[in-house]
């Protein structure tokens, strides 16, 4: 509780200069809580709170704090012979930028820390509307500098740098259709193995070894269709490939019904991937790369569930108020992972945002 209060005060201090610098500041606080629980003995509580302040029609500044509390005795943890572990991740981010109808430019920085991981992230993104605002082009670049250590182990320290770039375009195809495409590329350079995961080879436990370079590319296509009477259909797909040899397909569809002040959505998302070239469920002999990471094994999963929203404009002291609750059940099927052949669970989250 003390931590949350400290963070809220910190966020207030971060946005306070806006109030001093402007005659009138529009403030939009947002908060969200989530629970993840699965059949592999993992529970994650997440809470986030943030605030965005607008100086005028163009300039804005924002800050957000997020905390994850993880408790797990999953097969990954058990095979590492460490028993149940608990960890807390703190993530604080600030952003500032210039937005006006048709154009935006935003810079951001975030820092996250947990027991064995420190990360600094910087990003720059911009967008531009063209063709009577029917076409929006966007681009972003980012850089992450990560430091990985091992809990209760002195002298172990590795680095991982990540370079990200995304190009996107969205287009108003008809009065009822919106389409968009985005191409995301990222280059990972450094330690990408788990500092805890060991692979047994001929009776000998060896720390897993994954390649230090990984180039990842994802192409996402989306289509939103307004059907009339408050109904809309939102569909999306993603093609993904990387230099580890993982290839995947993601497909999703969401049916949305809006009738102010209530909106209801039902979403279905499916995912399937191939294994990394060097992944094996078991190794008969030592190889250059060794991993039994199930996220690099072949598997498919499905997520399904509803979202209920309530939104009002000009309600009491609020210029706008929105409440949202979402529940999704999921199922994973691992076809080539010895310790676990399936995993199922639920993700639930509630959120509130307001504008003053």
């Amino acid at each position: 509780m003390r931590l949350q209060l400290t963070v809220l005060v910190g966020l207030g201090i971060a946005v306070a200069p806006l109030a001093l610098a402007a005659d009138r500041v529009d403030v939009e606080p947002v908060t969200r809580f989530a629970l993840y629980r699965d059949s592999d003995s993992t529970t994650i509580w997440t809470a986030a709170t943030g605030v965005t302040g607008r100086l005028d029609e163009r300039w804005e500044l924002g800050a957000r704090y997020l905390v994850d509390v993880v408790s797990s005795a999953s097969v990954d943890v058990i095979t590492q012979a460490t028993g149940r572990f608990e960890d807390t991740r703190h993530d604080i981010s600030v952003s500032g930028g210039w937005r006006e109808p048709g154009r935006s430019l935003v810079v951001g920085y975030s820092h996250s820390t947990e027991n064995d991981w420190q990360s600094h992230n910087a990003s720059l993104s911009g967008s531009l509307d063209l063709l009577q605002r029917n076409l929006t082009l966007s681009a972003s670049v980012g850089f992450q500098d990560n430091t990985i250590t091992r809990a209760n182990s002195f002298g172990f320290e590795e680095g991982l740098r990540v370079y990200l770039a995304t190009l996107g375009a969205s287009y108003t195809l008809t009065p009822r259709d919106l389409i968009s495409a985005s191409l995301a590329s990222s280059y990972y350079d450094g330690f990408q193995s788990s500092p805890y995961r060991y692979v047994t080879v001929a009776g000998q436990a060896l720390l897993e070894r994954q390649p230090e370079q990984r180039f990842r590319q994802a192409l996402v296509l989306r289509h939103h269709r307004y059907l009339g009477g408050g109904w809309a259909l939102r569909s999306h797909g993603r093609l993904y490939a990387d230099t580890y040899g993982v290839k995947s397909l993601t497909l999703g569809v969401e049916s949305v019904f809006e009738s102010e002040p209530i909106d209801l959505a039902l979403s279905l998302r499916g995912y399937q991937q191939t294994r990394a070239d060097f992944y094996r469920a078991a190794y008969a002999s030592e190889q250059r790369y060794l991993t039994i990471d199930k996220e690099l094994s072949p598997f498919w999963d499905v997520f399904f569930g509803p979202t209920l929203g309530y939104g009002r404009t000009r309600l009491g002291p609020f210029e706008g108020l929105r409440l949202e609750a979402r529940v999704q059940g999921f199922y994973f099927d691992f076809s080539d992972f010895t310790a676990l052949d399936r995993r199922y669970g639920v993700v639930a989250d509630v959120g509130a945002s307001a504008a003053f």
């Binding site: 969200r32 993840y36 997440t46 986030a48 943030g50 109808p101 993104s125 911009g126 967008s127 063709l131 009577q132 605002r133 076409l135 929006t136 966007s138 972003s140 995304t166 996107g168 969205s170 287009y171 108003t172 195809l173 008809t174 009065p175 009822r176 919106l178 968009s180 985005s182 191409l183 995301a184 590329s185 990222s186 590319q217 994802a218 939103h224 307004y226 809309a232 939102r234 999306h236 993603r238 993904y240 990387d242 580890y244 993982v246 995947s248 993601t250 949305v256 809006e258 909106d263 995912y271 991937q273 990394a276 690099l296 999963d301 939104g311 949202e324 994973f332 989250d349 959120g351 945002s353």
Partner: protein, 80 residues
């Protein structure tokens, strides 16, 4: 030599730009007064960045793929 290689390439780029301009200008079919439904929440690409970040965080840490679903700026809905 380099000039002889660059010139056709530059001409190719110019031709592509002209074709793209002609094609894209021919695509302008939706007038601002026809974009009313694009201002609705259900038509936004990323109506809630915090909710999107939560959702993508779950996927990114449990699947081998990542990227592409982050916010890509404005949505072209014509609303401001």
């Amino acid at each position: 030599m380099s000039r002889s290689i660059l010139l056709p390439a530059m001409n190719g780029v110019r031709l592509l730009l002209v074709l793209a301009a002609v094609f894209v200008s021919g695509c302008v079919r939706v007038h601002p007064w026809e974009r009313g439904v694009h201002a609705r929440r259900c038509m936004q690409l990323n109506p809630d960045s915090t909710a999107t970040a939560f959702e993508q965080h779950v996927f990114e840490y449990r699947e081998g793929a990542a990227g592409g679903y982050e916010p890509v700026g404005g949505s072209g809905c014509g609303c401001s």
